[in-house]
Subunit: 439 residues, 2 copies
């Protein structure tokens, strides 16, 4: 029955990047929650699709657990690489194949299954549940802060469970305690009203040179960020976090093979590699373009040059403050003519290793999957987790029903049905333990 | 009749960038030349369309004049901006509208008209004529050196007339004596087999950073080329050339208005502006691209970054030698991993101001157009003129029947019929004067 519900949810397209089916999906998710017993509200931000907010008070417990999920999915392209149509939700070989099956509809239904089991068995849930399901996670949650501001008083609780999580390549349960933050910036330099014959390059300024020179001031040749004060507030790993990092499985080899790289930056390897991967702020050119980029040779003096950069942030770095430092840096280096367009900003989120919810999640994972769990101090990726950890002050763990070969964001995304069911048990055990009074 | 011949030639598409109609156009051009009285040969390079080579010996003169033209045209896109279909050759308001009407089919037929007139009036031409018409000028003449190597012994002569030329914005006849050279280079940096999640930027090298850093070593912030020895062989303007430049009309104001720029590089203005425009070697980023360049924000660690650069060269700079210096520069600055792909190379061409053909062209222009001619020591643009000036040793002038608003390379390209006819008379007067023994 829950597999069928997952199929029904997967068959409803919900591509936020293409504004496809979002309202319908919000309605469907709301319907499923209502049918289970939740009190459901739809929050309509000033722009963008509804955010589903649902509550289920416990008749026996006083503690409160908050869930975060998202109902939107990544675009399905390239279509030709899918074995089955991406919204067909075909079941094959013990897996449901669909865009969103893993990220994040599988987790929504898997959690619903846990809650349903409690209600069936006991008529209630052991603790109060609050559930937030947004529809713009895949495009950077642009209207989520509006929701948080509006619902802050109602989102009080004791801990939170994040949208994703599951098993690694060796089927070990993963407990992730944090995400890096993000400052996403687009730079634009325009030096003329239109492109020109490049014979004029002797006298007319080329914006691509200007952009190149500006970018070259942002990092040094070792990749260190040269913006004044960028590292000022960085909180180093605690001794406990360093120990956990030492115990984290090494991704070095798999990245090296997958990308065909011989050496990593700075010649990093082993523990130092892991420490940098999880702990270093980054400055990444995600895109750069100017002039003629087609085949063959064409001589043109471009009028506009642009670049996109994502800066990953670590705990205590404030993206708003850093955006200011970046602007100051440009002025100081005489690039005040370069336009800076902030596209997204999120601080990092990190829950302490000794948080009760972290320990419960690890213990329950060991019990359900019969494998030693891996605690990830942080993911190297980013997301809006800080609203929960920082703004709402909720210790937060990411656990769920994903598996390592689920092809998240790629063709043939899938949900392993066995992990879907076990992930549900994992969440149930966490709810159960969490509902008990802390010792 | 010659307007009809121009229409017929314009109605035959010949877009070299799209390999469209080139063989048919070569045949048609050859047919027109044969019908006029030329002995025509087709040279088939190892790749690419035929080069038409035609000869018309004089029965009365011993001197030899060589013409260079091209029968290929630029692509017609964007189609929607044309008032009439680009290959319709519609006559309207005293102009023939067509892609190629001005560049370069108008000049071919206008010259044919001159020669025809001599033959009709006297049964011969006053000097020997040789005519080269290639079909790849618009894509950088990739197979022209093959032709020159093969035909060098047969291309002997006393002077040459280049493909283009005509009237400026004030209908003054222009006599152009040179072109800048060109080194066109594509750079490519690859740091991984495929694009990656940008969370990995903490440990995996980003090729866009590498490219940016490499490019930033090529010029300094004033735009001066920092490749060691780049300016070593630059031949400065002669006193005579400087005087001619002083007399050249100032393009400063029109470029400023067209491009909406407030100041030129280095704050150049007046004589210094002109000297830089015509005399400075350039290093232009014609294109740069890496990663995600679409709308919105996407976080990706690119695996490849590329750039295209055109370097304009001035007399005595050797593009092959400079390409070597560029490679050395990359090694010296530890960018040996950056791939360098040479796409085209041409040295500069410049005919001395006191060349007899230059004086004849100016005098004849004054006579035909009744305006003081303007001698351009060089154009700031490039082309394969050096094969004529340097390899064949022919003093060369660019004169013709173009006008300032002919929309060359743009939509609604056109040929003013009055200039077409007068340009024919200009060439005829030059042939006549040139045929006389030098005094």
């Amino acid at each position: 029955m829950f597999v069928e519900q997952l199929q029904a949810l997967c068959r409803q397209p919900s591509v936020s990047a293409q504004n496809l089916g979002l309202y319908e999906t919000a309605e469907l998710v709301g319907k499923f929650l209502k049918e289970t017993g939740f009190i459901v509200e739809m929050f309509s931000p000033s722009k963008g699709p509804p955010i589903v907010f649902a509550e289920l008070p416990s008749r026996i417990g006083t503690r409160t657990l908050v869930f975060y999920n998202h109902y939107d999915v990544q675009p399905v392209e390239p279509l030709e690489l899918w074995k089955n149509p991406p919204f067909s939700a075909t079941v094959d070989d013990g897996k449901v194949y669909a865009r969103g099956a893993s990220d994040n509809k599988g987790n929504i239904i898997s959690r619903l299954m846990s809650i349903s089991a409690f209600l069936k068995a006991t008529g209630t849930v052991p603790c109060n549940l609050k559930w937030v399901i947004e529809g713009e996670e895949e495009i950077g949650s642009p209207h989520f802060s509006e929701f948080i501001t509006r619902y802050k008083e109602r989102l009080t609780g004791d801990s939170a469970i994040w949208e994703f999580g599951g098993l690694d390549y060796e089927d070990r349960p993963l407990v992730t305690l944090g995400l890096k933050g993000m400052l996403y910036v687009e730079f634009r330099v325009q030096t003329a009203l239109k492109d020109s014959h490049s014979a004029r390059a002797a006298v007319v300024e080329n914006p691509a040179w200007r952009l190149v020179r500006m970018l070259d001031t942002i990092t040094d040749e070792d990749g260190r960020i040269m913006v004044e004060g960028w590292y000022d507030d960085v909180r180093p790993f605690t001794q406990e976090e360093l120990e956990a990092i030492r115990a984290m499985p090494l991704e070095e080899h798999s990245i090296r093979d997958e990308l065909g790289v011989k050496n990593f930056l700075f010649g990093l390897t082993g523990f130092e590699f892991k420490k940098a991967f999880y702990g270093n702020p980054t400055a990444n050119i995600a895109g750069i373009w100017s002039g003629y980029t087609g085949p063959g040779h064409k001589t043109v003096l471009p009028s506009v040059a642009q670049a996109k950069m994502d800066f990953r942030l670590v705990p205590n770095q404030d993206p708003v403050k850093l955006a200011g430092k970046l602007r100051q840096h440009l002025v100081r280096h005489e690039f005040a003519d370069v336009e800076v367009n902030l596209q997204a900003e999120n601080p990092a989120a990190r829950t302490p290793i000794d948080a009760r919810i972290a320990k419960i999640a690890a213990r329950a994972g060991r019990e359900v999957f019969r494998k030693e769990p891996v605690t990830l101090v942080t993911s190297a990726a980013s997301g809006p987790m800080h609203y929960f950890t920082n703004t709402l002050g909720l210790p937060t763990v990411a656990i769920g029903c994903n598996h390592a070969k689920s092809n998240t964001h790629a063709p043939n995304e899938n949900q392993r049905i066995d992990v879907f069911v076990k992930g549900s048990k994992w969440i149930a055990r966490v709810i159960e333990e969490f509902a008990k009074p802390p010792t």
